[in-house]
Point group: D2
Chain length 376, copies 4
């Protein structure tokens, strides 16, 4: 089995998740190439050395540009803060590397588009880490929709709410600044539910009507000096949706929704049944069929098991449960198979750039106070 050598940039929340997944993936799945944890980049040499030891990478560097250029790196894996994605990805593409990046792809649709064009011109593979679509339960939801099992879709409802910025005394960090985060909740969390809306329905969002709000308008500076500054992006956002296939829907997202920790959830309503899902109970799907005797109809709680997508590789026994990192393992599997098999990856930069366009359409709709259409 050939090797596929990974160069990881960034070792925060997502960097560690990628590392865990890279280590476990070849044992969980039978892969066409072995994903090697080859090189790790951090902000300086010392931290890079330490993190490479912790996360199990063979080599390390304090200079991400060196990583991008390294001849022994096949895939550049970008887990650095969002505002660095563009520069890193363009450099990696220029060096002919495949790029695996965390979401959101870029701070703006224009930047994202530049990344798409560079990647497509270079012919490298790209994948963006919208990992929640890899969860077995969500893959199952899509399978049920596509098979026609719940008829034609008539409504989509989605949300991705968390409360990590609900505390008004929490100071500014990269999330709250336009220059480092772009959009707020809409970019960080809304990007997931926007991508998922299209993934699940198999339809493109054609028009949006959006509304944004910064609930906590000022926050303290992180230096502890007591100064306050304006929060530069949305704490919560919501939108009505019109899909190209005629379907309508709505979504909301928030980083100040007290009580929600991993509150990505959706309801898919079809003419012959419905699906309800909540990522806080990620290993189950509620399925309703509008058939059979009326007195026996109800939402069934399907516990994910080996009959469902990708579960069997983790356990042969049903209901044993997948966790957050297992989604990343599935993502790695898709990435490795796609690169080795030279097959299209989903969601690639082009698809992720669409999410940036949707975010901006919602922002524009908010500013203009009317519906905004979204192209391509």
């Amino acid at each position: 089995m050939a090797d596929l050598k990974f160069g990881l940039i960034g070792t925060g929340f997502m960097g560690k998740a990628h590392a865990i997944a890279l280590k476990a993936a070849p044992t969980v799945f039978s892969l066409p190439a072995f994903p090697v944890c080859e090189l790790l980049a951090e902000v300086d040499d010392e931290q890079a050395v330490r993190k490479a030891r912790e996360l199990g990478f063979a080599r390390s560097t304090g200079d991400w540009k060196a990583l991008v250029e390294d001849p022994d790196v096949d895939v550049v894996d970008i887990c650095a803060p969002n505002f660095l994605h563009k520069e890193m990805a363009l450099a990696a593409i220029a060096a002919g590397k495949h790029v695996y990046a965390e979401k959101p792809l870029a701070l703006s649709a224009v930047d994202a588009q530049a990344m798409v064009e560079a990647a497509e011109a270079a012919g490298v593979k790209t994948l963006v880490g919208f990992n929640y679509i890899r969860n077995s339960a969500t893959q199952l939801a899509r399978e049920i929709v596509q098979s026609g099992e719940i008829g034609e879709l008539v409504h989509f409802r989605g949300r991705h709410n968390e409360d990590y910025l609900a505390d008004p005394t929490k100071p500014h960090d990269w999330h709250t600044r336009r220059a480092t985060a772009g959009a707020g909740a809409l970019g960080d969390l809304g990007s997931h539910i926007l991508n998922m809306a299209e993934y699940l329905t198999g339809q493109r969002i054609g028009e949006v009507c959006g509304q944004l709000q910064t609930v906590i308008p000022q926050r303290a500076l992180p230096d502890g000096g007591g100064g306050m500054e304006e929060v530069e992006n949305d704490d919560q956002a919501q939108a009505l949706l019109r899909f190209d296939g005629g379907l309508i829907g709505n979504l909301e997202t928030s980083r100040v929704a007290t009580g929600r920790k991993m509150g990505l959830a959706y309801t898919l309503t079809g003419t012959r049944g419905s699906i309800i899902f909540d990522q806080e109970r990620m290993s189950e799907l509620q399925l309703y069929k509008h058939t059979g005797p009326e007195g026996r109809r109800g939402f069934s709680t399907l516990l994910i098991g080996p009959e469902h997508p990708d579960y069997a590789a983790f356990s042969p026994a049903p209901g044993h449960g997948l966790g957050y990192n297992d989604q990343k393992i599935i993502e790695i599997r898709d990435l490795v198979e796609g690169i080795v098999g030279d097959r299209p990856l989903y969601p690639n930069f082009r698809e992720a750039a669409r999410v940036n366009r949707l975010i901006e359409a919602i922002e524009r709709s908010h500013l203009e106070g009317n519906w905004v259409s979204v192209s391509g």
Copy 2:
């Protein structure tokens, strides 16, 4: 104890519910007057006689106009189809009767306004049957919001979805015709969640941005002859909301949401906590407090009990459960107390007419494709 004599018009779903509540209310609650089931009107004498026997009314008539004029009727209780509300209510008001009507108050905001003005000019009491706001759990939700227990509200999410018209082979009935129903799901079900949005938040909806859809555009004629005709109102609707107090929110309503039977639900997100409620589990409220040790925070399932509004009259023991008709018993209590005590009733015609205006604002917003403000 004095008597308060009721004249009931209409004996369908709601008429029976009113009758049950009138019978039980004086035993459940200590009332300032005894609600007498005095006179019942149905479409003809024969049916009126039969229904009066079934529902326990002293007298009956096949002519609702006679009921309205009857000197021994203090309160005219209108459970007839929606399109008759206006004529009946105006006649009752003209006869100096108090009026208790089912929702929606009227088929249009103009009609509703005429009813408000007539009632206020005559000085009679009015109450409209938005009974779900009487549920202990929902009263508790409002109490929690008003007390500041979950801080300031930052988001309202509501829905009222059912699936009674999900079957496309179901023929036309009064729901599907403009002349008999006015708006579709938005009028029948949406009226509940619109009223409840303002009840729960204590804020007025100032602007709406709405979207309507007739999912099943044609239905068979009820004569069985096989002819098809257009469905004249919405099967589903959704809206973004901007409240006068700055709060934002969204709602949706549907009569084709497969799997939902009594799918009125809301989430109230505050700066220091949140509330989740689903009428399909009407005797419990989920409450989250964003305080205390982080590792002990979670949504608590409060089972309704004697500490909560109006529950103790039904049972001294917690968690024993209220049912649909119990909400109507509470409504009757409010009605009787309001009339006898000459106190304002909520929601009266003026309040219910507001719901008609909100419905029309959502419809207009849909047609115009932008935000619409709602006065008064």
Copy 3:
């Protein structure tokens, strides 16, 4: 329609529930006789007068013996404390009255048996208020079991836990004394789940192996003087069960189970499916069918609706919810129909006496430390 005149003794929790149900029943259901609230007895005239006014009874008396003898009383309805059931019932039977009594029937199996024999010798109808078996969801569970829809039963699990005596500072009351309550949790709550075990399975419990415990061995005297006395009966109990049909099972009951408010629950496991129910969510039943594609099997949440037993009389629309008092309304319907139609009632004194025998068998098993069989 003839009248059936009720004489109610006792106006606490259960007395009021009976009164509400008597008032509402003839409007909810089409009854073969009208249940008249004729006469009410309380401990003295003053209280009797007041309570008759509150609960809507025509006449009152401070002497329950007068009620029992009253020629205008057809049914003696005993809601007095348990230790009075025997004397009152025997007097009522001696006067030729039908008897409707709350559970548990008696403080001992011997007493219960005397009551059975008197009632059967006199040929009067008897009914004991195990009202939870009247809940639509539980009637549905029995229907599903009996139809063979979940195959043959292989296991029964039941509990009835509450926490009304969890607070150790709560002083003695009638529950904690042998002379007034007989068994503790086992008598008060366990009686429900024992009756329900046989009702649901359609099998008799043939042998039990039980264990009892008084968790809080001493409580303060209710006089507030600070004296402590021994608690005379069980705070919690549990048992293994062997049914006559070969089925095995277990149950537990507690009055100190912190967090449980109306914690009656059961799981019925069959060879082709299973049922789960929790009275705290009394309007839903979880049904699992071990058929169809494995990937679509899961517990379905059936919301009770008009297809299910007795629901349609309360509402024509599914999922609108029944409450505690609605169970009593159904019980009244059964009582009136049984008396007027001269049909067997369930559970009558004979059936309720069986529950007393089961309680004593569990107590004896606890003392002897082995299995005890239960006759008849």
Copy 4:
């Protein structure tokens, strides 16, 4: 960092789970030694070679005895069928290896005891894979109990039900034979809940009263020839429990409980609160506190997060969810730390042998029809 070299015997469900965990553990946790996947044994060379490649082991052998003797193996990891545990463990111990074995430890208490004595005489470390106690939510439950947060425990209720043998047409396999499995559901699943009962409560089970049943008494031979043979062990079992500290409880286990897939669940009732857990929703714990205003008491759903045991190593964000294999990663962490730090491991062979004794006590109690005490 030193290496700790693992030799894995057996590559079924559990073998793969161990391999995944060995790969991921050093990236998830900071370990004091690196767990090396050194040598893998399967039933023949060909299969061993193939599986070593799949699961990422450096070397392979078709002879487990060679593995046990291999000088480059520090830890023998036994995932072979239960009936082989004893022979393999004794050989490993004789070779001076640490032993990590799957549960149940042995087919009988006598065998288990021999294994304990050998291990203790040799001074090697042992660990048995009762992995569900490693779940964050269950560790949290224990922490809450031990801290006194819910007062003193008054009741334990446990179950571990699944339905993998519910289908009566499923032929015999190793589970159904005494010689290969020992006890049935009681050994396979009941062992988990027995161990967990003591882990959670911190008390020893002193006496049991048990009941076993083989629901499907005969099954087809696996050869497909149509012959039927007796099932040799229990399909379901249940027991009353008396703990040494005075606590009482009950448990049940089944392999024919239709609808349960990973149905390990428990309720811990304390004097000041209660805990409910269900492994099918493994990333949440229900906690009730019997304090504060009565109207605000209810079971809270705690989503597992970084404040809870061992979660933060997997994700810094709450509610993101752990999966089945994550429990094994925590187990590996404990194993490596215990061996390197020369600290006691839990549950070691001595603790696991206790589970075998509890199983046999329940079986004996069933046969004798009375309570049986359990020593040591």
